[in-house]
């Protein structure tokens, strides 16, 4: 039986890093364009969360190897 593919301690660290990068990206977009529509903020948050989960799998697998 396969264990769950979710390691909380790795995921939260990766999520913090990903959201930090997303925040920097949004700040740059705001500085350049003067405004950031709400839909872009929501889209960024959803994408960042999915990306963080994927990245945590890579980190976990790299450690196991």
């Amino acid at each position: 039986m396969e264990g769950p593919l979710f390691i909380p301690e790795i995921f939260w660290k990766v999520l913090v890093g990903t959201l930090s990068l997303a925040a920097i990206g949004l700040a740059v977009a705001f500085a350049v364009f003067g405004s950031v529509p709400l839909r872009d903020v929501i889209g960024t948050l959803i994408s960042a969360t999915i990306l963080a989960y994927m990245a945590h799998l890579w980190v976990w697998f790299a450690r196991e190897e």
């Binding site: 396969e2 593919l5 350049v32 364009f33 003067g34 405004s35 529509p37 709400l38 839909r39 872009d40 929501i42 889209g43 959803i46 994408s47 999915i50 990306l51 989960y53 994927m54 799998l57 890579w58 976990w60 697998f61 196991e64």
Partner: protein, 266 residues
């Protein structure tokens, strides 16, 4: 006639055009006429001239407002002088223009544009000069006034100026003021993404006013607003999230497979 356009930072209506009447607290003189034009993205055009003899700002405003609504335009109002027009049916406003034939009175027009709603590479305002209002009660073509944030450009006009001559004068005045513009016969185009223009004009908020002061025999000038996005941003985010989900699914399958192989080998 006086026109203006303001770029907003809020994620609200992509664009709207405002008409404002100002009879200086009194009533319009007997021979005063107001011409109101609007164009929507789907090609619908509104062009009506109203005789506002003896009407106050509010009465003239209501007269125009009712006619616009009857023609199928989505309009709202604030105060006693302003008409805000946003769309015709499902089609957004594209061009707004208003003019009066009485020297000394001021009717104005403005457009609100959300910069993020415009297509990259097509973030331009077009200032159009058309035939004069052709009324015989004025003896001056007035002064063309264009305000770009703190930059104020004044262009003195002659009564016999053609639309292309007006556009040419504006082209020269803007160039002398340090802006990069292009001209096509009767239209002057200002691209706010141009590096030189961007140095002088913060992208947002950018306030543009364009119109004619102190003259009723001058050109009929109009502001054309930039077109909105061809592809909705929501669809773009949907595609990005869908691609990430597929990539994540592939990663899960690969991880499971390699773990299974590793266990089998152990």
């Amino acid at each position: 006639m006086f026109g203006s356009s303001t770029l907003l930072t809020q994620d609200v209506e992509a664009r709207s055009g405002d008409y404002k009447l100002d009879f200086k607290g009194g009533t319009a003189p007997s021979w005063m006429e107001i011409r109101v034009t609007a164009k929507a993205e789907n090609g619908t055009t509104y062009d009506e001239t109203f005789n506002v003899d003896g009407l106050t700002d509010e009465q003239a405003r209501d007269l125009i407002l009712t006619d616009l609504q009857g023609a199928g335009w989505t309009v709202s109002t604030t105060g006693t002088q302003t008409i805000i027009i946003t769309r015709h049916g499902g089609s957004e406003i594209k061009q707004v223009d208003i003019g009066d034939n009485h020297r000394g009175y001021k009717t104005s027009v403005s457009g609100n544009v959300n910069t993020s709603e415009a297509n990259p590479g097509d973030k331009k305002f077009k200032f159009i000069s058309a035939l004069p209002n052709a009324h015989s009660h004025a003896d001056s073509a007035g002064t063309l006034v264009l305000s770009l944030n703190s930059h104020n450009i004044h262009v003195a006009l002659s009564v016999d100026d053609t639309p292309s001559q007006v556009a040419s004068r504006l082209d020269i005045a803007l160039t002398n003021a340090g802006f990069v513009v292009t001209r096509s016969v009767d239209t002057v185009i200002l691209d706010w993404e141009d590096v030189t223009n961007a140095d002088s004009l913060p992208v947002s908020p950018l306030n543009i006013e364009f119109g004619l002061e102190d003259g009723a025999l001058g050109p009929h000038v109009a502001i054309m607003l930039p077109p909105p996005h061809d592809v909705p941003t929501l669809s773009e985010w949907g595609l990005i999230i869908f691609a990430l989900l597929i990539l994540t699914l592939v990663t899960v399958v690969v991880v499971r497979h390699r773990r299974a192989v590793a266990r089998a080998g152990a």
